[in-house]
């Protein structure tokens, strides 16, 4: 990996450096027009995306229907390419959907459109969200804006890289085992996985249905709350959508964290966690204590089983969820089929990449005759034990603090040949998905010039506590104000 890249403090005069709530002020004052913002982002994408490859599809034209919104602000949003956008190609980072134009909008997209957001483009990702590095994309890997030789994390690597590099003011990702939080951590931005059931999954291409959630990736905590408020809510089209959700109130004016009890699970700081990461996280916990919170070490004893349970449950569900890509109704179909079996096998052979095939194989195996009890059922029981670990913690703590990723961004290509090493990248994010909890990652320092993420884990449906604590942290620190200097970009 090339040596440390340059970074700079954000520039308030640069539109693409601002957070959305800062942009809103400029728009409301009439100092800039929505079209100016749009064009600034399109220019920025033209400037740096050749190097980053954060986008699979860019929508360069400002939507004409948004020209006159009578002063109501409109904002662009980048959307992970596994979220259905009507009329805009949605590939899932896969050859099998390389030319797929969705006939409908995901509920999440409809909710954002109602609030004046429009799709700036579709971001790169590990194929079908299977991966932790954004290297498993049929459209080539995305690079980390902080160091072009490093991965941005995954699977929402395109969304995280785009937000970090100023190619989008904010973005949507999806998180099945850490796919929003881990790339957010590796790219130095804020990413949140909502409580399972908070955000409708209708229109999110299913990877592992019992774990998937759409989540925001933003420059700061306030923007994260704004997107969360827009995304969350019951959807009658999703049977697993939680009914009767109250909107999340703003995490306003947090001066003191007095009375907040934070648990720091020791299993999340064990061997395998890079020293620099551990140091940054413990320092961040110190900041929270200075703000009035009480932190102590705690234990989630079944943590070490999370990865194993996940790598049975997620592939099992995926093997079934991906059976629909058969070349019959949409998507790629082989042109060499002489029989029905050929059509199926060749279509899927040609359409899926190696990691997707690996997980389909694994998932099919663990569900196949004679193995269900030993693998799938057992993993779901272990999942219960992991849920109980957290439930016990909630008796004593309001939230848990831990690293998001055991390491900072690793070099491109380092783990592609070793699936298990790649899977380890999600070891600290997976338990949260298994338990359906909300969690947020926010920048808390740098190691070797690469961002470190602090993960805050909350009680079910208590995103507010996470946002309040994160907001207090950002008021007390400035890690979120640094911007990467991308590749050949001239330092201004």
């Amino acid at each position: 990996m090339r040596c440390q890249q340059r970074m700079r403090k954000m520039d308030e005069g640069c539109l693409t450096d601002l957070s959305v709530h800062q942009l809103r002020v400029l728009l409301e004052r009439g100092e800039v027009a929505p079209r100016d913002v749009h064009e600034a982002y399109v220019r920025r994408i033209e400037e740096v995306d050749d190097q980053l490859n954060a986008y699979i599809t860019v929508c360069p034209d400002f939507p004409p229907e948004l020209e006159n919104r009578h002063g109501r602000p409109v904002f662009p949003v980048a959307v992970k390419d596994n979220i259905m956008t009507r009329g805009i190609r949605t590939t899932c980072g896969s050859r099998i959907l390389a030319r797929f134009i969705p006939p409908y909008d995901a509920t999440a997209i409809l909710r954002l459109k109602e609030r004046g957001l429009y799709v700036l483009g579709k971001t790169n990702m590990d194929e079908f969200a299977m991966g932790s590095s954004c290297e498993n994309s049929a459209f080539g890997p995305t690079r980390n804006p902080w160091n072009l030789d490093a991965v941005p994390g995954g699977s929402s690597g395109g969304s995280a890289a785009a937000v970090a590099a100023g190619e989008a003011p904010w973005a949507l990702g999806s998180d099945t085992g850490g796919s929003v939080r881990q790339p957010a951590a590796l790219c130095g931005v804020v990413g949140m996985k909502p409580t399972y059931g908070r955000v409708s999954r209708f229109g999110l291409v299913a990877f592992a249905s019992s774990l998937d959630q759409i989540g925001p990736i933003t420059r700061d905590v306030w923007d994260c709350w704004v997107l969360m408020r827009a995304l969350c809510g019951h959807d009658p089209l999703d049977s697993t959508s939680a009914p009767g959700q109250a909107p999340i109130p703003p995490p306003q004016s947090v001066e003191s964290l007095g009375g907040v009890r934070i648990g720091v699970p020791r299993e999340y700081l064990g061997p395998g966690v890079e020293d620099a990461v551990r140091d940054a996280v413990l320092k961040a916990v110190g900041v929270l204590e200075e703000l009035g919170a009480r932190a102590e070490e705690c234990s989630l004893p079944h943590t070490e089983y999370g990865l194993s349970a996940y790598y049975i449950i997620a592939p099992a569900e995926a093997s079934s969820n991906l059976a629909r890509y058969d070349g019959v109704r949409y998507g790629h179909r082989t042109c060499q089929a002489s029989s029905l079996l050929d059509m199926y096998e060749l279509t899927r052979q040609e359409g899926f990449g190696a990691e997707v095939k690996r997980r389909i194989m694994l998932g099919t195996y663990v569900l196949s005759a004679g193995y269900y009890d030993a693998y799938y059922l057992r993993a779901q029981k272990v999942r219960t034990l992991i849920c109980r670990d957290f439930e016990r913690a909630w008796a004593r703590y309001d939230l848990l603090a831990a690293p998001t990723s055991p390491t900072v961004a690793f070099p491109l290509g380092e783990r592609t040949a070793d699936p298990l090493a790649m899977y380890m990248a999600d070891v600290l994010t997976i338990p949260v998905n298994l338990a359906g909890l909300p969690a947020l990652s926010l920048p808390c320092g740098f190691a070797r010039g690469l961002p470190v993420g602090l993960q805050l884990i909350g009680r079910p449906f208590d995103e507010l506590t996470l946002l309040r604590v994160a907001q207090a942290f950002q008021q007390a620190t400035d890690y979120h104000l640094y911007r990467p200097v991308v590749g050949g970009e001239v330092d201004g």
Binding site: N82, I83, M84, T90, C92, L97, F100, P102, P103, Y104, A106, R201, F202, G203, L204, V205, A206, A208, S209, S210, P236, L237, D238, S239, T240, A316, E317, S319, S320, L322, A323, R324, D326, V328, R329, Y330, L340, Y344, T364, L367, S368, A369, Y372, Y376
Partner: protein, 484 residues
């Protein structure tokens, strides 16, 4: 063979439920629309789509389960049954595996005048698949997904049926029960009632089951019975020759009237069932289930008993009529207007069913008001028309939709019941046929038939036969007295 060997049959029956919309999306379930016009991204399995259960489908399934005397589960859930087939958009069927909606039911049915009972192992809810067609020109297979996602129940019996006739009688009773319960149209020709049969033979008295064959593609009651008869013969022959039977799936070939092997069980699917993560479990409120139970109408067996007791119908008549809810309703309504149950039952079983069978129609398709049949029967009693004219009028009334009385008037079919006019015809006949008259008077009673025929001929069949006969007999007697 019949003594040494016992036939063991179990059925798996698929029944489409009568909902307006599909089980997991809002597409219509209407039958017979142009291909792929009742589809949407959800039932086509587009990326990102999710199922939401139609409450009516659940309610109808519970209703069916209760009508089949099943114990309805408190807790039930959906599972995915994974396999690839072009009619299955998602690569899995949403079905139920280890927590079915209902279990442990039974159904009583009549075969050759005896009552038999078959146990129902389970009733579960699932989605139907699409339909495949073959394009003879291109050699391709074409898929229509209109049917895909129509709610189905699968009814599985215990292996309690002991002959092809029993299997057929069971299916006929099952159809009647489900039609009565208003859960399904049960139209076999439209595929809303479909059946697979498992059949094996074993030495009489044995308790273990023999090697079974699963027979698919049974599209009618007749096909079910014929295919099972064929299987009994085939398996018997094989066992007599000392061959080992293999566990296999066979299909009924309607054209050749034989079953043919489809696959052996070693090649059977591995369905990789697991709980459907996109749907949440169902906890059925016992009070809700009771409400559904209370709303069940009188079922065929109860109605049959009542028809015997209340209308004095023979068991056979009652059985034939209650087999169809529509027919039984027709019968009862007709009796309300014309209180002679046995006459009505003869007409329903003779004319009405005859008409339907000759045209291949279901009782539901009968376009004839029971009041009209009552009106027709009254005209016979009143002597306005004869029974044979009434039969003709019935046929015409059913096919034209006209009222029988109007038809009789329009066509001048009233009987000649005017004594004076008829007496003149009788005199004329006697004058024109001296020889039969002589014969009759010499004691050849058969000659009266010929003379009656002549009276009917002269009146174009309209003569009231009772009156004509009386007048003829009187005339013949009188004139004999006058001539010596």
């Amino acid at each position: 063979m019949a003594d040494a060997v016992e036939v063991v049959i179990g059925l798996e029956v698929h029944v489409e439920l009568k909902t307006e919309s599909k089980i997991f999306c809002a597409c219509s379930t209407r039958f017979g629309s142009p291909p792929n016009t009742q589809v949407c991204p959800i039932c086509l399995g587009h990326p990102g789509t999710l199922p939401v259960l139609n409450l009516k489908a659940l309610e109808l399934a519970v209703r069916a389960a209760l009508a089949l005397n099943c114990k309805v589960a408190r807790y039930t859930k959906f599972d995915r049954k994974n396999y690839f087939y072009p009619d299955l958009p998602k690569g899995y069927q949403i079905s139920q595996y280890d927590a079915p909606l209902a279990e442990h039911g039974w159904l009583e049915f009549r075969v050759d005048g005896r009552m038999r009972t078959a146990r129902i192992r389970r009733v579960h809810l699932e989605e139907d698949a699409g339909k495949l067609m073959h394009d003879e020109v291109t050699g391709e297979t074409l898929v229509d997904f209109n049917r895909c996602g129509v709610p189905l129940i699968e009814v599985v019996t215990e292996p309690d049926l002991r002959s092809p006739r029993e299997a057929r009688a069971f299916m006929e009773e099952l159809r009647a029960v489900l039609q009565y319960a208003e859960v399904s149209d049960c139209r076999m020709q439209e595929g809303s009632l479909r059946c697979d049969a498992n059949i094996s033979l074993r030495p009489r008295g044995a308790t273990d089951l023999g090697t079974k064959a699963e027979i698919k593609n049974l599209n009618s009651f007749r096909a079910l019975e014929k295919a099972l008869e064929y299987e009994v013969a085939r398996q018997t022959r094989a066992l007599e020759r000392g061959e080992r039977l293999v566990l296999e799936t066979r299909g009924w070939d309607e054209g050749r009237q034989v079953t043919v092997p489809l696959r052996t069980k070693e090649e059977a699917h591995d369905y990789r069932y697991f709980p459907e993560p996109d749907l949440v479990p169902m906890t059925l409120d016992p009070e809700w289930v009771e409400q559904i139970r209370r709303s069940l109408p009188e079922l065929p067996s109860q109605r049959m008993a009542r028809f015997q007791a209340e209308y004095g119908l023979p068991a056979y008549d009652a059985g034939v009529i209650v087999a169809s809810r529509r027919l039984a309703d027709f019968f009862e309504e007709c009796v309300r207007h014309y209180p002679h149950p046995k006459t009505v039952s003869n007409w329903v079983m003779g004319q009405v069913l005859g008409y339907l069978n000759s045209r291949g129609l279901e009782p539901e398709e009968l376009n004839f008001e029971p009041e009209r049949l009552a009106e027709l029967l009254r005209m016979v009693d009143e002597g306005v028309i004869s029974v044979s004219v009434a039969r003709e009028v019935f046929e015409e009334a059913v096919s034209t939709g006209k009222s029988p009385r109007a038809l009789v008037e329009e066509k001048g079919l009233e009987q000649l019941s005017d004594t004076g006019a008829l007496a003149a015809v009788v005199r004329q006949v006697i004058e024109e046929h001296p020889s039969p008259v002589r014969d009759y008077r010499r004691g050849k009673v058969k000659a009266l038939g010929f003379l009656m025929g002549q009276v009917m001929k002269k009146t174009a069949g309209k003569a009231n036969p009772q009156l004509a006969r009386r007048l003829l007999e009187e005339a013949l007697a009188t004139e004999r007295e006058e001539t010596p």
